[in-house]
Symmetry: C2
Subunit: 321 residues, 2 copies
């Protein structure tokens, strides 16, 4: 599909999450030139159209506030699973949308414009490749370590979609075959060990007492940075699992850069030091040892910037109809 607008117009970028809906206008340098968000109307009893109305209102507001030209297209990152490239979405943490035809509805809302929907973690990885920690590198894995562990894979300079748009599920690389059960139904996946809520549950069992009720992965990461011993041990657990999964990934895909973002990654050295130690123990071949493992560079807007790249750079990031 050829973009019908001249270059220079911004893209309307959307990030659909269980907590908030975010929208932005992003220019072709990857800059966020307008931004707003609303809480996801996710309470029991809210239906699919309640959610759509909230999104619709948000999009009107972002475009109107910017006062600028019509966007060049609409790029969306959304929690999975979804049918791809059709973009009928069933985000795990948004029960009201089951098979919701998000791409089709956005096409009706923006007739004549390209509309592209991909997994939210893939959009983060695309953002980091396009304008972040992986730019100008051909073989990059972008990761998000947060409520879940997701990612996206760029090989030979192009996003890998796989058979059904599901490539990049680094969170389900197996790091301990006899390890804890995973939300996917399997066992010992990276995500089962390193996801924020899993780390928080483990840390509480070991005696960690969070300030907030329940505690979050971000809080645990902050405590680890401050040297709290149980939080440090939790991050060591996560770091080891990440190092093993990344060694497997680079042996299979011969990567140049792995960029790691998400709330848990904010722990810094208490996470990255044991990660590198585990990686170094398992990745011994020269080609694997050249891998650079770095924090993600774009922070919170990475997903919106990547969603915009689906429109701005389709040859690299969108190879579907």
């Amino acid at each position: 599909m050829t973009d019908p607008r001249p270059p220079g117009r911004p893209v309307l970028a959307i990030d659909i999450g269980g907590t908030k809906l975010a929208a932005a206008l992003v220019d072709d340098a990857g800059r966020v030139v307008a931004y707003d968000r609303v809480p996801t109307p996710n309470a029991p009893g809210r239906d699919a159209e309640d959610l759509w109305r909230a999104l619709d209102g948000l999009l009107d507001k972002v475009v109107a506030d910017a006062g600028g030209p019509e966007p060049a297209g609409v790029g969306v990152g959304c929690g999975g699973p979804m049918t791809w490239p059709e973009g009928a979405v069933s985000p795990l943490n948004i029960p009201a949308w089951r098979g919701f035809p998000l791409r089709e509805r956005l096409r009706e809302r923006h007739p004549g414009l390209p509309v592209r929907v991909h997994n939210d973690a893939i959009c983060v990885a695309v953002g980091e490749h396009w304008r972040g920690a992986g730019r100008e590198r051909a073989n990059v894995l972008g990761m998000v370590v947060s409520t879940g562990v997701g990612g996206g894979l760029i090989l030979g300079g192009r996003l890998v979609d796989g058979a059904s748009g599901n490539a990049g599920h680094i969170g389900h690389v197996i790091v301990d075959p006899d390890g804890p059960p995973c939300g996917c139904g399997g066992r010992g996946c990276l995500e089962a060990i390193a996801r924020g809520p899993g780390l928080v549950a483990w840390a509480r069992e070991q005696g960690w007492r969070p300030g907030e009720p329940g505690g979050t992965g971000v809080e645990l990461a902050a405590d680890a940075r401050d040297g709290e011993p149980v939080a440090v041990a939790a991050m060591r657990r996560a770091g080891r699992a990440l190092g093993i999964a990344i060694a497997s990934a680079t042996h299979l895909c011969d990567l140049e850069v792995v960029a790691i973002g998400g709330g848990v990654s904010q722990a810094g050295p208490p996470l990255f030091d044991p990660l590198r130690e585990a990686f170094d123990a398992h990745a011994r071949m020269d080609f694997a040892r050249r891998l650079e493992i770095v924090p993600a560079a774009l922070g919170q807007p990475a997903g919106l910037i990547g969603a915009a790249a689906l429109i701005f750079a389709p040859g690299r990031y969108w190879n579907a109809h």
Copy 2:
């Protein structure tokens, strides 16, 4: 590089191994139209030029015996490691070649013809994709379970090379982080558990008594097919490790087909049944469960056929200079 010969001419395909050097003329349908081989002159004291002379004579003979036209190009599969795409090779099991400029020497031997050298396991995977078990599928992992465990990855219809031509090292996906040491220097890699010599050593410890001195993976596979209990247990061990590694690979790459060849794979159900059981336990998401895991289709000539495909189908299998 554009092929200077009209279509229809065969490719001179070469397979360099520690036991034998094989050469063939392969036509563009993937048929082997001429074939010969010689033992690799690998005894202590043989030097790099002894090996080259043996290869040179073999190539003369295959082309002369066929009595046909000059080949369209030269494709080579060779044991790693190597510099890629330069093709200076240092096969682990051929000590006399360390940084041997194989591609350069073949270019001098065949001036004006395209000469392309890639890893031998990658050539097997390419062969299976081009004319074997993975044909007409876009996302395929080809595997060889033999003295080592190697492979090649085709995604979006194209061979994945990675940063340095080393993508496809499925044998070093980690299946048990505290498992046995691996020849790569790591621990718990698939290859450390499932390679033929490792299985043979394990089976002998458990009381397996091979007919041949020492025993081989092929013999162990045959005994497993015949129901010999220790051989069956060895294949269960290998199958479980394979199932875990394949689950990790398809979660990361969203594959359609995994094609498994090599001597150990000849065990059949005693290997494939526990493989599928482990895969099914770990691959629970819909997209992963659609994966087809099949025996390789081409048998012994797969590597030669894949080496020919490096010349016949460069857009798909060769993206270097």
